[in-house]
Amino acid sequence: METTFLLTLLITFLASFIGYELISKIPQTLHTPLMSGSNAISGITLIAAILIYPEVGDSQILQIIVLIAIAFATLNIVGGFSVTGRILGMFKKND
């Protein structure tokens, strides 16, 4: 248990570090699509909703709350990627 938690912390640190290094190199021109793209990625919390949905049991209220979370997260993922694709299409070179 102890080691898994430390390992998880290490992964968190490494992910933040890689993210920081790579994202620092993204030019100002792409900052808006970067934000809409990270909107889409923050929808990954959908995974948590999928994992806990079968476990909420009989409570209707909790079930509805998870469904709301699913709706929000799915909207983020689909809408975020779709609008990012639209923006990035404008930055493609018209050769």
């Binding site: 990270s38 990954i44 948590a48 994992l51 909207l75």
Partner: protein, 443 residues
């Protein structure tokens, strides 16, 4: 099997960020990230799709379709609102999940703290983002900063209430309520032009909420992706703050630009006409256009493109100088210009173009104000002192296209407007540009 899929997903996310580094490869980055997301979501089902009822699948399909619909309809000038809204959804989703997990009594104590953290951050992001969207739509004026100050004092007091009452039944609901109110008040006191910082900050919080949700459900991929979003938001937040020479705390405190400063002008500006601007431009060899929020408000992008084409046809060099905080979100101006097919290689950052102004024939300032105010270099008393600005006052000639002499967000006069080399063209950005283009046909 599942572990392998998740590993591929995590690697793809990181590759996507790498590809995002250049405009020419960025559209592939989006496909990589989509694939990574699809794999991650797929793995969460653990090959057992029968555990889920129809309500679950209907919710996914309906909200997915809604997402497509919104993304196709949204105008590029509305991107700040859309990103703000999505920040709120992301935070809200993580907050809701944390709440459900907290209702699970068998949660180990260490996870309880993480869940409370995730819930509070998520709900704060949700309500704060909705207020940010309302502000961006111009539906809310600045609240007095007093409200924020009073709240900062009361917040610790409010948090003691459950302990005093020995409350244990509605504790989670109480935290949600406090987080909701905190989000509303915190964002409500911050001014419209500081929204780039606020949006980037809330973006980061939505990632942090997702990351902590990953700790509760033991999902490494959720932690990794959440951390990436958190890092991205923090970088943008710090960049925006640096571009205004202010600290994040100072921005979040709110109330900027409300101090009373003498903003009288020593003399009247020289006003010019569209015909004169057309003549001035046609004799230039190099022109730099500085777009600001005024361009977005007037929806003047198409007119900008037309003017650019007209000038380029006359073999005049045209460049765009974009200040990091121009507009209402990071990179806002770049997207608006890209939308009308202006080459991203003609868009320059402050660092890249500032040395060129002294050799530029004409600078056309389009609805920008504080970001070209030379007081930032000269007046130590000024609230914007030390802020990196575009040194357009060093150019040979400057034309400022603006509706009036009214001050910008900082609430201070801009001596550029009465500079000897500057002329004012009083007009709405779109109308003004269209009149200049018409005059070209007569020149």
């Amino acid at each position: 099997m599942i572990e392998t899929i998740l590993l591929i997903s995590a690697v793809l996310f990181i590759f996507a960020l790498k590809l995002f580094g250049r405009p020419s490869t960025a559209h592939r980055a989006n496909s990589f990230a989509m694939l990574a997301m699809a794999l991650a979501v797929f793995s969460a089902f653990n090959f057992d799709f029968s555990k889920y009822d129809s309500a679950f699948y209907i919710t996914i399909v309906v909200s997915g379709l809604l997402g497509v619909l919104i993304s196709k309809r949204v105008q590029m000038t509305q991107m700040p609102e859309l990103v703000g809204l999505f920040n709120g959804f992301g935070g809200g989703a993580s907050g809701a999940i944390a709440y459900v997990e907290l209702s699970n009594t068998s949660l180990p104590i260490s996870d309880v703290f993480v869940a409370i953290f995730s819930m509070a951050i998520g709900i704060f992001t949700f309500s704060g983002s909705l207020i940010a969207v309302l502000k961006l739509r111009g539906k809310l004026n600045n609240f007095s900063t007093k409200l924020g100050n009073i709240f900062s004092v009361f917040l610790p007091t409010i948090l003691i209430i459950p302990a005093v009452l020995e409350m244990d039944t509605f504790l989670n609901e109480f935290i949600i309520l406090v987080a909701l109110i905190a989000g509303v008040i915190r964002v409500a006191v911050i001014g419209g032009a500081d929204m780039p910082v606020v949006i980037a900050f809330l973006n980061s919080l939505s990632g942090i909420a997702a990351m902590s949700a990953g700790f509760i459900v033991n999902s490494i991929i959720l932690i990794v992706a959440g951390a990436l979003v958190g890092a991205s938001g923090i970088i943008l937040t710090l960049l925006m703050c640096a571009a205004m020479n202010r600290t994040l705390l100072d921005v979040l405190k709110g109330g900027f630009g409300t101090t009373n400063i003498n903003n009288e002008y020593a003399k009247d500006p020289i006003s010019t006409s569209p015909e004169d601007v057309a003549i001035q431009l046609s004799y230039a060899e190099s022109v730099v256009i500085v777009p600001g929020y005024g361009m977005a408000v007037a929806q003047a992008q198409a007119a900008v493109k037309e003017l650019t084409n007209t000038l380029k046809d006359k073999n005049i060099e045209v460049k765009f100088a974009i200040h990091p905080v121009a507009g209402r979100m990071p990179g806002h101006m770049n997207v608006l210009l890209a939308e009308v097919d202006i080459d991203y290689e003609d868009m320059f950052t402050l660092e890249d173009i500032n040395s060129e102004f002294s050799s530029t024939d004409v600078v056309l300032v389009l609805g920008a104000n504080d970001v070209v105010n030379p007081l930032a270099r000269t007046d130590e008393e000024s609230p914007i002192y030390g802020m990196p600005i575009l040194d357009v006052d060093l150019a040979k000639q400057v034309v400022v296209l603006k509706r009036s002499m009214s001050p910008g967000y900082a609430g201070i006069a801009n001596p550029l407007f009465i500079n000897d080399n500057a002329k004012m063209l009083f007009a709405d950005a779109k109308e003004g540009l269209e009149n200049i283009i018409k005059s070209f046909e007569l020149v």
